[in-house]
């Protein structure tokens, strides 16, 4: 898609300075710690696009997904879906616009319910259609995700991982949401099944004009699917841009390390030495300044003092605002 067109694309999702802090511990004997899981995150996702979100475990990407789904309120900031704020919005109204697909197809389906009940639940909860219409819709949806008709009467325990993930997709899409949060939807699946599910997700996106927020740690998958990409580290977005921008010219040292550690199936290349040091930071005690500096190969004294801002690399002087197509990066030396 041309970059000019992007300016005028309506936004499906906009995050404005979103933060979430948790209080940890705090009994009679020790002081409670605060954990900033999501720290001042701003992000815009144009309608019909796939926004990839990558980062290590504990970087806050799952908390972000929970906030978007309305499962936990943000401490600060706003979430706009189709231009409307969702904070304090009715959960049912929100559910019509945004639905999740979770990582583990073994725990995302209630083992005591039949597939027809699971997929039809959204319709029942929202009182859409008569029982007969609901059943017809469930059948249609199961066919759409490539499941045989008799699957409707089965229990999740009788299905393989790939089939369960198809059920989860059918449940997420039966109310035709605008936005789907895919939280590592294929990382629990075998590679041969992963390809089936990725194909299905791409087909359904075109079919229903969906917008995906695609959370993953598998860079090859993200590169295959995502139009845009945001990289998170310890609760902050450290780099954001289009797929080409990130994969061909990563600016942030963390993004560079991430890309270097993605192992493509090419023999003879060996394992890259990415030199990040052995330590992983403790999220309850984030390093001062730039949170990445203890592991950063190009860190300077300045990095431990000043926290770099997520800035537009090609500042448009006239407007002084962030342009949607410019890469943004949070590093003093980008």
């Amino acid at each position: 898609m041309s970059s000019a067109a992007n300016h005028f694309k309506p936004l499906a999702l906009e995050l404005c300075a979103l933060s979430k802090t948790f209080k940890l511990g705090g009994g009679m004997l020790h002081k409670s710690q605060t954990l900033t899981a999501v720290n001042n995150v701003s992000l815009r996702v144009p309608r019909g696009q796939v926004m990839g979100l990558v980062g290590e475990s504990g970087c806050g990407k799952s908390t972000l997904a929970k906030i978007l789904l309305g499962l936990t309120p943000p401490s600060e900031g706003d979430v706009l879906i189709n231009g409307k704020a969702i904070v304090n919005a009715n959960q049912k109204a929100l559910a019509r616009h945004i639905q999740p697909i979770f990582q583990d197809p073994y725990s995302s389906l209630n083992p005591r319910q039949r597939i027809a009940q699971i997929v039809g639940l959204p319709l029942r909860i929202h009182g859409i259609g008569t029982q007969k219409e609901q059943a017809a819709k469930v059948d249609e949806m199961l066919e759409l995700v490539g499941l045989p008709k008799r699957a409707a009467q089965q229990y999740p325990g009788q299905m393989s991982g790939g089939q369960r993930q198809r059920v989860a997709i059918a449940r997420a899409l039966i109310m035709r949401p605008d936005l789907v949060i895919c939280d590592e939807p294929t990382s629990a699946l075998d590679v041969s099944v992963q390809a089936q599910i990725l194909n299905l997700l791409l087909d359904l996106k075109d079919e229903f004009g969906l917008t995906y927020l695609f959370i993953s740690h598998d860079l090859a998958v993200v590169e295959h699917l995502a139009d845009r990409l945001a990289v998170m580290y310890l609760g902050k977005i450290v780099e954001e841009g289009t797929r080409e921008q990130i994969f061909t010219a990563p600016r942030h040292p963390y993004t560079q390390a991430l890309l270097a550690s993605a192992l493509t199936p090419e023999p003879g290349l060996g394992v890259p030495d990415i030199g990040l040091g052995a330590g992983q930071p403790d999220p309850t005690r984030p390093p001062s300044g730039c949170a990445f500096h203890p592991r950063c190969p190009i860190a300077q004294p300045q990095c431990s003092e000043q926290s770099p801002k997520l800035t537009d690399l090609i500042q448009s002087a006239a407007q002084g605002t962030t342009q949607p197509n410019h890469p943004r990066v949070a590093c003093h030396f980008a």
Binding site: K66, L69, G70, L71, N90, Q91, K92, A93, L94, A95, I98, Q99, P100, F102, Q103, D104, S107, S108, L109, N110, P111, R112, Q113, I118, L121, P122, I125, H126, E143, L144, V145, G146, L147, P148, R150, A151, Q154, Y155, P156, G157, Q158, M159, S160, G162, Q163, R166, A168, R171, Q196, N199, L200, D203, D206, E207
Partner: protein, 302 residues
Amino acid sequence: MAHTLSPPVAAEQHFVGSWQSRLLRSTLNNRNLTIGLLIITSLGLVALLAPWLAPHDPYLQNTANRMVPPIWHETGSWTHPLGTDRLGRDYLSRLIYGTRISLFIGLVVALISGLIGTTLGVLAGYFGGRVDAVVSYLLTTRLAMPVVLVALAMASLMGGSMLSVTLLLGLLLWDRFAVVARSATQQLRDAEYVQAAQALGCSLPYILLREVLPNIAGALIVVATLEVANAILLEATLSFLGMGVQPPSPSWGLMIAEGKAYMFFQPWVITIPGSALFILVLSINLLGDGLRDLSAPGGRNE
């Protein structure tokens, strides 16, 4: 449109037959469960059919016929297969009617305590935080109370009767239900299907009753069997101590208490109700063990 979609996946036929037949098969494969179930069912039938099974009126006194020994004794007779007690009442009939008392108290106590404990445990596990703190406080308080002493004290205040014993034990024995329900719910709270239901805007009762409860029911049923056994033993204890079911009701505990004066010369007055109690509690525990094996991971959901 179908051509753009991924090919349907061939369903695996891992499971042969319906779940009913599978359940039956795994039940029969489990010896504890089969034995427990058999004994419980027959005792249940005995309790239900007591008026037809009992050869005599369990309350009918006949002082001329006191302390008749059971049939395996030299002086025993078929009129009183298990003999008579110190008031000349037919021991077999009293034993049969006693089954009713034991099973009734066991089941009702488990029901009451199950309701209290499950509610508290599920709420504590699901909400965590302050709700959990309150429930945990209640739980610690409850665990700090010696059940028998508290029940004795309360029963002496309220006066012993079948009703008061049932209520007291029901209000006291919820602790294990709460502990199990709480920890099982805590594990489920973050299960993705619960989150999916939350994200759909399902109501709290729906999530707790339809998404959480069916998935912790297996563990709770196991606790329930243990509590039934526990309640039966405690009723016998209280009745033995004179604060439970009152004479002339044929409670097994009471029968043991009434027989204790004759223990050395007519030991059967104690061994007969004692063995009945032993067999009942053993079979309930066997049933519980068997159910635990069935509901263990790998049973139903692989």
